[in-house]
Symmetry: C2
Subunit: 338 residues, 2 copies
């Protein structure tokens, strides 16, 4: 792809120096994450295309990578795909997209179609169901490197770009406790997948430190079906009257807001709420929504660069390496002291 | 891909008859659109996979199609992609995804990479800039059929699945007039692309019928850059004091809400607002947002089925045919009489 604008023009549009802008496209740690995000966003808007890998990637065959995601339901995934597609396209790569609908069986079938040279590498957020991940070993045997983003499997040795979920879940739960909550429910996306478990561990740590007993009745393992989640959240609230809810993904918070409305519970007076979410309009909701905001777009970019590093031979394949990108906690009305 | 559940189980989960459910997967008009949407949604949630084309598609080579979209910024596109990927996967097809960042140049370059047998067909929402669409003729010369969805080019003879935008824009503007607005501004996404123009025509027709003069100062052609749009919308409001805004895409309405907040204008008292949007949380915004809601997921499904019809030889290639899917108008607080 041709560049529409040069790095000098991009720097001018941002009012930044050329060297600051170019740092944003390298793996440099020597740049403020907020500045990096601003630069990447503007680069995408203006169509700036840094070609970082193309000359080193020529040896690969299909010039295609696959993205595999469990769902399209959260803003997180569309932002991450945007980042992946952007890096890939700017390096002459094509991107296949697959959705597993949270099914481990579908995930395995998709993976099997990718071993015959269709792709040079795979970027995946795990669907989480099932514990047999042999099909991923097969992928590695076929020299198709895999990079996880967000949701990974602990038994698979490969690189992963994810959020600092333990720490941010701990902080989010702590924040609810500080604001007076004691009966705090946790809505898990899936206890079998890394993020479902790790986010719950952060929640539990905060409760323990505050000497609040961990009550299994307050931990809800949810499904992929909106109606079922709605009914389960309603039952949880009616039966156990939590005074706060920590939702591990955005769509569960949305269901919670609808349930609260039906039960005529005021957020935050009767029920405080905080959730993982990449919504850029969380401040416009009624009430404004407190969020743990993951750098989804950056996570997509980082995962693709990691995969290209492996494809270029700059990084080894099949080595476990977890990179944590920090989320931002934004406290708004929904979790306030009311 | 294997089916996880049968059509009988899907019908049972929905409390509907098997024949009603199977109608939703055919091109049958003999089903309520709301029911169809409910069935398709549930099918996706439960992982039901209707295999409609696979045996007829065997003659094709790559078993891959490409989606080309201008941006990821609106919920519309993630919903449409979800529909496209779903139909494709259930028929053994792979899906490549490309984002043009609204650049006609990038669109042409992407198209050029797709002529060498990489894909059997293309589903595209046009980027809109530039008027030379010869590269699309080349695509047809290479026997790669093209189906547009949402944003199409009027000079290209091919099938298109789009919304009834003229009618729904007319109704949305009429609604603002009925609720007392007279100084109604229109925020165009891009006057060069079908939806930018057609939505504006619906707006103009409503003004004419109400004997409200059409004022070019009230028509803002926007860009792809959030900051620029924010500044332009702010200037429009400060200079010309509209009493209502009709935004042709979701992100422009979000910028409008932020500008109104900065200028301390109350929505809807000082400024009424309605926009095209597929947000399923429009009712949760403060104020709840009036929307023209396109059937994005269904549009993605319909476009993919149309492409497969062409690939199967059931429909001719290179014939202009525009299919309109009706949007739903949802009037909430943001456009009310206040």
């Amino acid at each position: 792809m041709a560049n529409n604008i040069t790095i000098v023009e991009l720097a001018a549009a941002l009012g930044l120096s050329k060297s600051t802008v170019s740092r944003a496209f390298r793996d440099s740690e020597d740049i403020n994450p907020k500045t990096r995000e601003k630069i990447l966003q503007k680069a995408s808007e203006l169509g700036f295309s840094p070609n970082l890998y193309a000359s080193n990637l020529r040896g690969n065959k299909s010039h295609t990578i696959a993205i595999i995601i469990p769902e399209f339901g959260n803003k997180f995934f569309s932002q991450a795909i945007k980042g992946i597609e952007w890096v890939a396209r700017n390096n002459g790569y094509h991107v296949l997209i697959y959705v597993t609908d949270h099914s481990a069986e579908k995930e395995a079938e998709i993976i099997r179609t990718l071993m015959n040279g269709r792709v040079d590498g795979v970027i995946m957020s795990g669907s989480g169901e099932g514990n047999n991940h042999e099909y991923l070993t097969l992928l590695q045997n076929h020299k198709v490197p895999l990079v996880f983003f967000d949701r990974y499997y602990e038994d698979v040795d490969t690189a992963c770009i994810t959020g600092n979920d333990f720490e941010s879940s701990y902080q989010a739960t702590n924040h609810l406790i500080t604001n007076g909550a004691r009966r705090i429910a946790y809505l898990a996306v899936n206890k079998d997948v890394s993020i479902g478990k790790i986010r719950m561990e952060g929640y539990k740590k905060a409760l323990k430190e505050a000497n609040i007993p961990i009550n299994d009745q307050f931990i809800l393992d949810t499904s992929n079906v909106v109606d079922v989640n709605y009914a389960d959240i309603k039952k949880l609230i009616e039966d156990h009257r939590p005074d706060a809810i920590f939702a591990s993904v955005e769509r569960l918070a949305m269901s919670t807001i609808r349930v609260a409305k039906e039960l005529q519970l005021d957020i935050p007076r009767d029920l405080k709420l905080i959730c993982f979410s990449c919504l850029d309009i969380a401040d416009m909701l009624q009430p404004s929504l407190s969020v743990v905001k993951q750098p989804a777009y950056e996570m997509g970019i980082a995962a693709t660069k990691k995969l290209f590093d492996i494809l270029c031979g700059r990084k080894p394949e099949g080595v476990r390496e977890i990179v944590f990108l920090n989320s931002e906690l934004i406290f708004q009305k929904s979790s306030s002291k009311s």
